[in-house]
């Protein structure tokens, strides 16, 4: 087990090196940079700025500098915001995380419960209605359902605020602040859950249907166990096992932000910052963020492998 983890961590380092090189090349070799786009600058001033930011050095040297700084915990300096990339992450990422963690929790909860019940009552009216509803939820584009819900719940019925994280001009603190944030996050969480729940429910439903057909479920029934026990002790554990792979992928998703949802609901998250940096060609920020997601992805897969070992006695590491 511990040799396995050591080996995996060594692999992770190699993979991250390769990833960082690719990420760097992608941005460094794209024609133009933050300075090119600014038409107000004279050619002399541009050359001067390139000198200051070290953009006139050879690509390999720039990569070496970037990596050296990254090792020291310095992911670069955002050119457009004039702040260190990490402090910007810290400022925006938790807003995205808040939305993601709540909607992911709701998505998994609904998917497991509905998936299990639908599988148990396969082809019943409940199953049919659920399947139709899920397909509908999966097929509607996020920008449409987002705007539609804003129109209905925020504009027409005025139940929920249409966007933002706080009411404009609000300076509430303490419990009032928490309540205000919760009120504001309801719509985006609703939309994110709606969009994510479809595929996951179908996934759990089909896992569960496979498991219910297994011989050991027949044995459990033959032992005269209560149906609840058969389902939740014997079937569900086996049906949840393959989902551990997904848990690994949820880790980067929790911190990655959501470009479209944050834009629609004007949520001050990392997704919005990312979009904005794209149009300004703020490459240090983009590179730093992409590398951050790469690190989380690699850690996520390691975590899911270890979880597999914990949950499934047949898996040896």
């Amino acid at each position: 087990m511990s040799t396995y983890i050591t080996k995996r961590i060594l692999y992770m380092i190699v993979i991250l090196f390769a990833a960082s090189f690719l990420i760097f090349c992608l941005y460094a070799l794209t024609p133009g940079d933050f300075i090119t786009g600014n038409i107000k600058l004279t050619p002399e001033r541009k050359a001067e700025l390139r000198e200051i930011y070290g953009l006139n050095k050879p690509v390999i040297e720039r990569y070496a500098i970037w990596m050296k700084n990254a090792f020291h915990g310095d992911f670069g300096y955002s050119l457009s915001q004039q702040k260190p990339v990490l402090s910007l992450f810290n400022q925006y990422i938790w807003n995205s995380f808040l939305l993601a963690v709540v909607s992911t929790f709701l998505t998994w909860l609904i998917a497991v419960v509905v998936g299990v019940v639908a599988a148990y009552k396969q082809y019943s009216w409940f199953d049919t209605i659920v399947m139709v509803a899920l397909f509908a939820a999966m097929s509607i584009p996020s920008f449409f359902i987002g705007l539609f819900l804003i129109k209905m719940l925020a504009v027409d019925w005025k139940w929920l605020p249409p966007g933002g994280m706080l009411t404009t001009g609000s300076n509430s603190t303490g419990l009032a602040y928490v309540r205000e944030v919760i009120h504001h996050m309801m719509l985006p969480v609703m939309v994110m859950t709606l969009l994510g729940v479809g595929s996951l429910t179908r996934y759990f439903r089909s896992n569960m249907i496979d498991v219910i057909k297994q011989d050991y479920i027949r044995t459990a029934r033959a032992k005269g166990l209560k149906e609840r026990k058969v389902l939740f002790t014997h079937a569900l554990r086996n049906a949840l096992l393959p989902a551990i792979t997904l848990v690994g992928f949820e880790l980067p998703a929790l911190f990655g932000g959501s470009l479209i949802i944050e834009k629609i609901f004007n949520w001050p998250g990392i997704g919005q910052l990312y979009m904005q940096s794209f149009s300004l060609r703020d490459y240090p920020l983009l590179m730093g963020f992409t590398l951050f997601i790469a690190i989380l992805t690699v850690i996520g897969t390691l975590v899911s492998d270890i979880l597999y070992h914990v949950a499934d006695p047949r898996v040896r590491l």
């Binding site: 050991y216 459990a220 005269g224 166990l225 209560k226 014997h234 086996n238």
Partner: protein
């Protein structure tokens, strides 16, 4: 209903709905198991022998499969009339079952001990501690050493033979009146087979339970059975006391089965096999279902179904050859 009978199946019919039509997997089957007796159901794959057992257990998968008629008497009660919950309290308690594939019959993510403790806690209302103690005893009783260690291991760490012993331990844990064994040795090595069968017989003698043994292996039948029921295409074609049936098989199908059994020390050029195949269950019309494979097929066999008639003191057969009126034509 004879009180001597632990199990009394009368005119049981179990049908499956498929896209192409209704399959009569079990068609008007009657059989009895007396106390302390081993009854074997013999037949090819698809003859309905497993479905008969599953019907007794109430484990037919609805809505596709359904018991459509008959009665299953067990200790004076008709199992088919019981509620799901009442049936559940009998299942695993008074009627237990072991299956063909021990490797897949236990839950891969639960420890052996936990799986053994479940029926004890469910039916005998044992505490967790008492159940664990009893589970370890049971593992010892089915001839596995290091019982404590085995209780804490997972199914994938044991061999097929050991797993089948565990299945037997689970089955006998609550002291059942009837044990249904659905091809319990088919997936095992020959040497292990004999051990498993010996063990079943030993438990039967110790506890006085009855066994309904489903098999296609006539060697197992000869070894174990008191009474034999031969099934073909969902019907009982012949039944009888084991010695009588082996000495004087009457139905051409039973005769064929006995002929196709290889005999040790008698090397034949070619093993005998019954010509033809099991009929498609969707295309059955009133007839003897064996008629197109039968060497003695007569006109009546193609159009009318023979009834199960007593022919000897201990034997019944469903074949037109033994109907007096027809035989003399």
């Amino acid at each position: 209903m004879n009180m001597d009978n632990v199990l009394d199946i009368e005119h049981l019919s179990t049908h499956f709905k498929t896209e192409d039509g209704i399959v009569r997997a079990v068609d008007d089957v009657s059989l009895q198991v007396r106390q302390g007796e081993i009854v074997c159901i013999v037949g090819e794959s698809g003859s309905g022998k497993s479905i008969t057992a599953m019907s007794v257990m109430g484990l037919i998968e609805a809505p596709a499969g359904q018991v459509v008629g008959g009665s299953i008497g067990f200790q004076g009660e008709d199992l088919l009339q019981l509620s799901r919950n009442e049936l559940r309290t009998i299942r695993g308690n008074e009627i237990a079952m072991i299956f063909q594939e021990p490797m897949t019959s236990l839950n891969p993510v639960l420890r052996i001990g936990e799986q053994l403790m479940e029926p004890l806690m469910e039916h005998l209302k044992m505490s967790k501690k008492a159940a664990r103690k009893r589970a370890i005893e049971l593992i010892g009783e089915v001839g596995i050493s290091r019982a404590e260690q085995i209780a804490d291991s997972y199914p994938h760490e044991l061999s097929g033979g050991m797993l089948q012993r565990i299945m037997i331990a689970i089955a006998i844990s609550c002291g059942p009146k009837l044990l249904i064994a659905d091809e319990p040795t088919t997936a095992l090595d020959v040497t292990i087979q004999a051990q498993i069968l010996d063990m079943l017989r030993r438990f039967k003698e110790e506890s006085g339970m009855s066994i309904l043994l489903i098999t296609h292996d006539l060697g197992v039948v000869a070894e174990m059975a008191d009474y034999v029921v031969v099934m073909y295409a969902g019907k009982v074609v012949e039944e009888g006391e084991v010695v009588a049936l082996f000495e004087n098989p009457q139905h051409p199908y039973t005769q064929g089965l006995l002929r196709s059994k290889p005999i040790i020390n008698q090397r034949q050029e070619e093993l005998y096999s019954i010509p033809g195949q099991v009929p498609n269950p969707l295309e059955l019309v009133p007839s003897c279902y064996f008629h197109d494979r039968c060497a003695h097929c007569m006109d009546i066999c193609r159009t009318t179904e023979p009834a199960l008639k007593e022919t000897g003191s201990q034997q019944k057969v469903a074949c037109w050859l033994y109907e007096e009126a027809i035989a003399h034509v």
